[in-house]
Structures are given as structure tokens and as C-alpha cells.
């Protein structure tokens, strides 16, 4: 119904407008819109209370086949030969068992701990083709924005909304504004999608896109691999946007074809034709527009305790007085103190304790390939207390092993782990201890994120790899 109305409209539309109107079920009696949800991804941490609510109200999932579940957040990344019973942390184990039981009881497709397809939910969905263009996708995780790389409208939701989507197949939603972010220029050697998105958040700030859906466009975006586009969309939430998306092109179609959940045969052709109609119309209007030229961009590193606190790898640590207003100066001062940094220090002389390559931002095969190119034939600095590679899924791990990447990493002194969220949020034993400093390919450098009193520097996989070799934050261009 929403779609027909919008098709009649002469106004040019953005891809977001189109997906929105094609999923608008109607308006509730209280005036709020109901948006139909095509794909619901679930994991162990934000779903138990939702399933419990469903049971208490004696409700059933509206459409079981739209749901796909896996375990990722709280599970260990060490040996899994004993399955769930091998999880040492009894509270985490109970959470995993709860998801096992809920998926069985409600007949939801589930990649459990021992399934080869298990992994980080935002790696698994795309690699299975469970993420398709034009879909509405939700998950009880803020990094659901990742799936926007497929021209899908995807955003993170809270647990009450997880229950609501399970019960009604709809999300109660207000339409957001359109924000076009155009990335121009060519990325130089040693500079990647991660550097691009860190530079963008540095530009717009952590609340820069609040209330908006971002559409990333421009040559530099379409030049990225699909993995690179996922890295960009993944961190939309770090700029305040609940969703960030990219239009449909041939590269995307090629990536999706023949994936297990993707349509086949004539249905595939029909779908592809439809997907191309979703791209933003010429002359569509945006509420905001920003341009970032990345042709001169250096590798980026976060120095503070939120993801807008970012500098070039070849720069120095800023001083509170570098910030325009008193509020920001105070925030900077607090961050410097937490991070144990002094203004004026050269970024590339900062010594590290640990290096983490993984997370829903950077744990895909391309990330591991880029990191391995830097690592090959070299050794991890002897003073490091740990250097971890945590593949995003069992299939990424297998692919990497087939390419011999695991040997490259292990020979250099990295630990080669089982898939999961791991040290991105340190719900398991992979963590920093008080005062430890880490170069991490994850998405958040908040206080304590990687462990109580831990210090995080967000970087690309290549920068993380180079930093592991030197033992300090390192300009990867020196090692290429």
C-alpha cells in the first residue's frame, strides 16, 4: 500500500525513502508508523528477555523463517571441542543454553557454537546471503547498520523491540532524515575503508548524524570491496546514525549470487532487476550533505575515548587547548588522562601491550588478507603481551586457512582464534587488564570497552598488523 502511493508520487526519492515506503504497513491508532521487517537476526545477549516476554504473554513468532540466530558476544574464542559445556563462565554458558532452548522451542534457524557457519551476526548474515538489497533488517545490536552495505535498511534495536518484531514482524518507527555523505578521491596505498570511516566520524562527530539515515556515495565508496563497504556502514552508529546504506551496483550483485540464502534461477533475475530500481533517483533531496575527499588521507588512529577523537598516524597527540570550546577541552583532558597520553607525543611512538584484529567491523576475509600481507615473514614485537586474530565466522576462518593465512599469522606469533565478538567488547576472557594499551580493529574506544581501565586505539587491520610487528602504533606505509 505504501509502495503504490509512493510510486505515483512524482518526487524523486532516495534509496532510503524507497525502502521505507515499500515496507510501510500503515499507521497505528496512536499515530506511529509500522514498518514491516524482512530479516531479524538474533544473538544470545539481547534476546533472552525478549523470548521470556513472548512466553509470558503466550505469543508466537509472527514469521519464523524471517529469523536467523547465532552466538557471538559472550562465547570463548579458545578451544571449542567440548561445545557449550566447555564454556567455563557459568553465567555466559547459561545465556548460550538459553538461546539454544529458545531457538529449539520457537523453531528458529540457528547456527550454534559448533556449527561451521557460526560467527559474528553481522559477518554471518551477509556471507549467507541472508542480507539482501531492499530488505529491512533489524537485530538487537547497534552495529546492524553493517548490512546497509547491501542497499538494505538495517538498524539496531533494543530488547523490547526484539520482542515486538518477533511477535508482530513490525517495528514501530518514525522516519528519519536523509543525510548524503559523498566520499571523493582515491584512497592511497596503506589507507583503507576503516581509515575512511574514522576520518568521517572525526569530521561529523559522534552525534553528527543523529536522527538521520546516511547514504554513502561517491567514487571512493563504490571503489571499495563489499567487505570495505560493510566496514564503513558498520560504524554509521559511531556517527550517531541508526542506519547507513550504499546503493546497488554490479559488484554487489556479483558478491551475492549463489550464496545459500540468496534467491536462485528466475527469482534471482527478477530480484536483481528490482534491486536496481531502488537506487536513489537523480535530483532526490537530502536534509544534509557532506563531502569528504580522501585522496590525501593518512592512516587514522583514535587517541581518546570516543570514536571522533581521531588523528593521522603521522601526527601528534592533541592538547586540550587545541579544542575550540571549554566543554570539548575538558572532555579532551579527561580522555588524555584516561588514555595515559601527553599532548605533543608522536602517535607512532606510542608503545602497545596488545593487538586485536577482529570484530564486526574488520574480521572478514579481506581484512585478514590485508593484515597477512603486512605480517608475512615478520615477527610480532617481543614485548607484546598478546596479539590476536579472531576471524568473523567459521567460514571466514576456513577460507583463511585454505589460503594459508593462519600459518602466516601463527608463524609471526599471533594467536589464531575461534570466531566471535571477542575483545571488541570483552564479554569473554579476551580482554585488556587495567592500564593495558591495544591497537584494535574494532569500533569503540569507550572507557573500559575492552576491559576495565583498558586503553583502545582504533585502527585498520593493516595498521594493527604493522603495529603488532613494531610494538608501537605504526604507519603501515613504512612496511608495505
Amino acid at each position: 500500500m505504501g509502495c503504490k502511493t509512493s510510486v505515483l508520487k512524482a518526487d524523486p526519492q532516495t534509496i532510503y525513502d524507497k525502502i521505507w515506503s515499500c515496507h510501510l504497513v500503515g499507521t497505528r491508532s496512536d499515530g506511529l508508523d509500522l514498518l514491516y521487517i524482512d530479516r531479524h537476526l538474533l544473538h544470545e545477549v539481547t534476546s533472552p528477555q525478549a523470548f521470556e516476554g513472548l512466553k509470558l504473554a503466550q505469543r508466537q513468532p509472527w514469521r519464523r523463517a524471517s529469523n536467523l540466530a547465532t552466538v557471538d558476544h559472550a562465547i570463548p574464542t579458545t578451544d571449542r571441542s567440548n561445545g557449550v559445556s566447555g564454556i567455563q563462565d557459568s553465567i555466559a554458558r547459561e545465556q548460550v543454553i538459553t538461546l539454544d532452548q529458545n531457538c529449539r522451542e520457537f523453531q528458529i534457524e540457528y547456527f550454534d557454537l559448533l556449527d561451521a557457519r557460526q560467527g559474528i551476526v553481522h559477518v554471518v548474515g551477509p556471507e549467507q546471503g541472508a542480507t539482501l538489497p531492499g530488505m529491512t533488517i533489524v537485530c538487537g545490536d547497534s552495529h546492524t547498520s553493517t548490512h546497509g552495505a547491501f542497499g538494505a535498511l538495517a538498524h539496531g534495536i533494543g530488547t523490547s523491540e526484539v520482542e515486538h518484531v518477533l511477535a508482530t514482524q513490525c517495528l514501530v518507527q518514525q522516519k528519519s532524515k536523509n543525510f548524503m555523505i559523498e566520499i571523493s578521491g582515491d584512497l592511497g596505498p596503506g589507507v583503507y575503508a576503516k581509515d575512511l570511516i574514522l576520518a568521517l566520524i572525526r569530521l561529523i562527530g559522534t552525534a553528527g548524524a543523529t536522527g538521520h539515515t546516511i547514504e554513502y556515495t561517491g567514487k571512493a565508496i563504490y571503489d571499495l570491496s563489499i567487505e570495505g563497504r560493510m566496514t564503513v556502514c558498520n560504524m554509521s552508529i559511531e556517527g550517531g546514525a541508526r542506519a547507513g546504506l550504499i546503493g546497488i551496483d554490479d559488484k554487489l550483485i556479483e558478491y551475492l549470487e549463489a550464496r545459500p540464502f540468496a534467491p536462485k534461477g528466475t527469482l534471482w533475475n527478477e530480484a536483481v532487476d528490482y534491486w536496481f530500481t531502488l537506487n536513489t533517483d537523480d535530483a532526490a533531496c537530502y536534509d544534509q550533505h557532506r563531502v569528504l575527499d580522501v585522496s590525501q588521507l593518512s592512516p587514522q588512529v583514535s587517541w581518546g575515548t570516543n570514536p571522533e577523537m581521531v588523528v593521522d598516524i603521522d601526527a601528534t597527540i592533541p592538547a586540550p587547548t587545541d579544542f575550540s570550546d571549554a566543554n570539548n577541552a575538558e572532555i579532551a583532558e579527561r580522555s588524555l588522562s584516561y588514555m595515559g597520553l601527553t599532548p605533543g607525543m608522536a602517535v607512532n611512538e606510542i608503545q602497545l601491550d596488545k593487538v586485536f584484529i577482529g570484530s564486526c567491523t574488520n574480521s572478514r576475509i579481506e581484512d585478514l588478507r590485508e593484515a597477512s600481507k603486512v605480517v608475512k615473514g615478520r615477527k610480532v614485537a617481543s614485548h607484546l603481551k598478546g596479539a590476536y586474530i579472531v576471524p568473523g565466522s567459521g567460514l571466514v576462518k576456513r577460507q583463511a586457512e585454505q589460503e594459508g593465512l593462519d600459518e602466516v599469522f601463527k608463524n609471526a606469533g599471533f594467536e589464531w582464534r575461534e570466531p566471535g565478538c571477542s575483545m571488541c567488547l570483552a564479554m569473554n576472557d579476551d580482554r585488556l587488564y587495567p592500564g593495558e594499551r591495544c591497537a584494535s580493529t574494532s569500533n569503540r574506544n569507550f572507557e573500559g570497552r575492552q576491559g576495565h581501565q583498558g586503553r583502545t586505539h582504533l585502527v585498520s587491520p593493516a595498521t594493527a598488523a604493522a603495529s603488532a610487528i613494531r610494538g608501537t602504533l605504526t604507519d603501515v606505509r613504512e612496511l608495505l
Binding site: 497505528r28 506511529l32 534495536i157 572532555i331 567488547l425 570483552a426
Partner: protein
């Protein structure tokens, strides 16, 4: 008749605790180790855990080392039920546990210049009122709240007004449907299921238009 999902919010009066930090993220509101719980309750004592305590918290840990410097531990704010905050409050992770922790600590209302979207949304699904006020007004409230005697604030959701013990009064904007939701505490799912036929009708059309989305 729709059942009540949470205690309704109409009018509230209480002591205001000022948390003078911008960009407070949900990792600070409730750290990750407490998210392993499969319950909806028990988060209040670990609200702002890394700031409230000097030792590292775990689920159920007692005899904590209290950080006396942290504002929530100031005896005069012990009974506080309103949180005064800075811009971009609740950014980061979507964890609804953050809202549960705030409510279970006894906070019914937050005042800030802006909120992150997911946190803002989660608040209304649990009966927490997040009031948005101009930064200049928030500044004035901070000055009053940090005086030696604590500030009490009256919040009237029906009238959309606040008034402080020190004489600051203001009106605030709130979306009428969200306001209604807090004032009635209606079960959101039941409300949507009133439109069950509409969803079913949509689904039939959607299936015809995009058959590749339906494997069932």
C-alpha cells in the same frame, strides 16, 4: 483492553543528580559484564559501575570499593530520582540494559540537551522519561543542582513543564504519541496487534511483490 507494560508516568517530583559529562555511552551506564544476565532485573546496583566503584565489578559481587568522588555516591544525592546529563546521552551500544539499570536505580526521568536515537527509543519502551532541553537551560540547571543543598524538580508530563526548587521553570517538547505511551503505559505489542489484519494484508502484497524474501 490493553495491559500496562510499566508504571505510568504522569507527574514526578524528586532530587536531581547532576552528571556533568557529555557523550555518556551505554558502556558506561552498564558495563558489558552485566549483560550476561538473562533477566530483566538486577541491574540497578551496577549502574555506572566503573565510575561508582574503584574495583572491577562482576555480577553479584558485594563489598565493593566505593568511589567517593563520583556524584552518585554523594550522600545528598542518595535519594535522587532525576538525572541531569549533557549532550548525546546514551550513545553507543543498543543495550536496553542501560535503561533498565537507570530505572532500577530509582531514576524516573533524565534531562539532557540531546540523546542517541536507540537509547531515546528504548526509554519509552520502559517508562523512563528523557526530556530534551536547550543547552543554555541545562547549564542553568547544572548550576542550581551543584549548589550545597540539592535541587528538587517537579516534572509534569501532562503539562510538559518542569519547575525547580530554586525557581527555574520551563516547558519541554515531546512527541504526542510518545507522551501518551508513557502516561498510559500501554503494552506496545498489544497495541500493534490491534492492527493484525493490516499486517496480514500487507504481508500478502509484499510476498507477491518480492517473492524472493519468502522461503516459507
Amino acid at each position: 483492553m490493553v495491559s500496562t507494560a510499566f508504571p505510568v508516568f504522569t507527574h514526578h517530583s524528586g532530587i536531581v543528580v547532576p552528571l556533568d559529562r557529555a557523550n555518556v555511552d551505554t558502556d558506561q551506564i552498564i558495563p558489558k559484564q552485566f549483560l550476561k544476565s538473562i533477566k530483566r532485573t538486577g541491574f540497578g546496583e551496577n549502574l555506572f559501575d566503573s565510575w561508582r566503584y574503584l574495583d572491577e565489578g562482576t555480577i553479584g559481587k558485594s563489598n565493593r570499593l566505593v568511589n567517593r568522588e563520583f556524584v552518585l555516591n554523594d550522600p545528598k544525592f542518595k535519594e535522587a530520582s532525576i538525572l541531569l546529563a549533557r549532550r548525546n546521552f546514551g550513545c553507543g551500544s543498543s543495550r536496553e540494559h542501560a535503561v533498565w539499570a537507570i530505572l532500577q536505580h530509582g531514576i524516573r526521568c533524565v534531562l539532557a540537551p540531546s540523546y542517541a536515537d536507540i537509547f531515546y527509543n528504548n526509554s519509552f519502551n520502559n517508562g523512563l522519561l528523557p526530556i530534551v532541553l536547550e543547552e543554555s537551560l541545562i547549564d542553568r540547571l547544572f548550576i542550581e543542582a551543584m549548589q550545597p543543598s540539592p535541587m528538587t524538580l517537579e516534572v509534569d508530563l501532562a503539562q510538559q513543564t518542569i519547575s525547580s526548587s530554586g525557581g527555574i521553570t520551563a516547558t519541554f517538547d515531546i512527541d504526542s504519541t510518545r507522551k501518551h505511551r508513557l502516561m498510559t503505559g500501554m503494552d506496545n505489542i498489544a497495541l500493534t496487534l490491534e492492527h493484525q489484519a493490516l499486517i496480514e494484508e500487507f504481508e500478502i502484497t509484499h510476498r507477491l511483490r518480492m517473492p524472493w524474501l519468502f522461503s516459507d
